[in-house]
């Protein structure tokens, strides 16, 4: 089970200098990510979505409210909640295999068991033949495959993905999105992904949480039950895109006003 409940979360950064206002990054954020669900947090930059993900991972704490995983409040970072970073954050001195096996190694998983799990995940992300390469010998898309495999190899309850494809070119991004859909269907992991791309959110999500800007609050919580693979010509996809665009455009007006 992995049901993630975001319950009345506030995050306030105190003013750096006297006379300045405190920065309210998140205000009363509430939503639920069900078990096995793929949830996208959609919003402009500065809407606090990264802050929210960092709180889920345990890198930051809330000022008020809480996030629970299967009823237990999340605390400091733990392997049950792994993260995939936009800049990959692979260990440059470790081979693909050892990067993927890092979490298992620090957990003390015996070597034969580890080798089996690593091999399984190498295959899952389509990196067979590249096991002994170092990260600098890989393309951006391949690096992100390693990072995804590394995050899943420890068998977390939730995988958190922070704009994982933002640094990739359009072609690779599309390819990796398709791969991630396949991986999430195969592993049935609960996943939370941050994005500012409507297309990406529609392609991947079971649920899209649209966030407003400063302070970050939930503007809409949309369950997407369009069967996969989702064609861009599907009228339901077109309608959803229109809806999301309107929600996001509202935000831009707030910004201009």
């Amino acid at each position: 089970m992995a049901r993630l409940v975001v319950d009345g979360v506030h995050k306030i950064y105190p003013a750096l200098q006297a006379g300045q206002d405190d920065v309210i990054a998140l205000r009363d954020v509430n939503f639920v990510v069900e078990d096995h669900e793929f949830c996208c947090l959609l919003g402009h930059s500065g809407c606090g979505k990264t802050t929210l993900l960092n709180i889920m991972a345990g890198f930051e704490s809330t000022t008020g409210g809480q996030i629970t995983l299967d009823g237990t409040p999340v605390g400091p970072p733990h392997w049950t909640r792994t993260m995939v970073f936009q800049d990959y954050a692979l260990f440059p001195w470790l081979t693909v295999e050892r990067n993927i096996g890092f979490g298992l190694e620090v957990k003390g998983v015996p070597e034969t068991e580890r080798a089996r799990i690593v091999a399984e995940h190498v295959k899952l992300v389509g990196l067979a033949g590249f096991e002994t390469r170092l990260p600098h010998q890989l393309s951006g898309g391949m690096k992100q495959r390693v990072a995804i495999a590394r995050a899943l190899a420890v068998d977390p309850q939730v995988a958190l993905l922070d704009e994982p494809f933002a640094a990739l070119d359009a072609q690779n991004r599309g390819l990796l999105q398709d791969e991630l859909v396949r991986i999430s269907l195969a592993t049935k992991k609960t996943m939370v992904l941050i994005t500012h791309s409507i297309e990406e959110a529609i392609k991947l999500s079971d649920r899209i949480v649209v966030m407003t800007k400063r302070p970050g609050t939930v503007k809409a919580n949309i369950v997407v039950d369009i069967p996969r693979p989702r064609s861009e010509d599907d009228p339901r996809v077109i309608a959803l895109k229109k809806e999301l665009r309107a929600l996001i455009a509202d935000e831009r007006e707030v910004e201009l006003a």
Binding site: A57, F59, M83, P92, W93, P135
Partner: protein, 266 residues
């Protein structure tokens, strides 16, 4: 392959041209010291022996084993001092990682660091007497501070997301230090080793000039008192060449140990 055969003479020419200035200088030196001085100012010839005389002295001292003995003594001191100075790595990691360690130790380090190792010579002679321990202490100071400063910097420059990644994959504080912070800081630690070896090597000679009965510094000073200028210059050249070889060696080891870091620098 016409391309390769055309390239061959041109690289040889390049190699030649790189050494041209040095060749001309040596030639001028040889003429001045070997032919002009003995005829014009014979009383000065002992002060500036020609390159051929230094070469002769080199063959003699290498043949007798004297040069290698002194070189080995110096190298041994440098290596022993280096082994002790490696304590700067864990200390630097602690100072780069824990704020309180930095706050407590930084003021001490910042006061001690600008004191040149050579300035420690008188005190170290009083404390340790004349001999290996005193020499090694001076070299130790030369290596220690560059290594410490670079280690601290290397730790502070570790990509924060690497630490976060390790943390959410379940690594403990100790595992993060050992498996992430140390390897990530290694390129800069190697820079510290290179600088430290250089400073230590320079300090070594100064220490041996004053307080030793062996080593290259002693060889130079001893030869001075006997007015053996050729040996003085030979000793100096040996220090220069060995310093260069040590630096190249450390760079080679770094390249072997850290293939990922060199690629990342490109």
């Amino acid at each position: 392959m016409p391309g390769a055969s055309a390239k061959q003479p041109s690289t040889r020419l390049n190699w030649l041209s790189r050494w041209a200035t040095m060749g001309v200088l040596l030639l001028v030196w040889e003429i001045v010291a070997g032919y002009w001085l003995p005829r014009g100012r014979p009383e000065l010839t002992t002060l500036l022996p020609p390159p051929t005389a230094i070469f002769k002295a080199a063959i003699e001292l290498i043949g007798s084993g004297e040069l290698l003995t002194h070189l080995w003594q110096s190298l041994r001191r440098e290596l022993i001092a280096f082994a002790f100075a490696l304590a700067a790595v864990p200390l630097g990691i602690a100072m780069g990682w824990w704020k309180w360690a930095h706050e407590q130790l930084d003021p001490i380090i910042e006061i001690l660091r600008p004191i040149p190792p050579i300035a420690w010579i008188p005190l170290s002679i009083l404390w340790l007497g004349i001999g290996n321990a005193q020499n090694q202490f001076i070299i130790f100071l030369g290596i220690f501070f560059p290594l410490l400063i670079n280690t601290i910097q290397g730790v502070k420059n570790v990509e924060p997301n690497l630490v976060r990644a390790a943390r959410c994959l379940g690594a403990s504080e100790w595992q993060i230090l050992k498996r992430v912070v140390l390897p990530a800081a290694l390129p800069q630690i190697f820079t510290g080793i290179r600088i430290g070896f250089g400073v230590g090597w320079m300090a070594l000679v100064a220490a041996e000039l004053v307080g030793a009965s062996s080593g290259l510094g002693f060889l130079i000073n001893d030869a001075r008192s006997l007015l053996k200028t050729d040996v003085v210059i030979l000793g100096m050249l040996t220090i220069g060449v060995v310093g260069l070889v040590l630096d190249l060696l450390i760079r080679k080891i770094a390249k072997r140990v850290l293939p990922w870091s060199l690629a990342a620098q490109k």
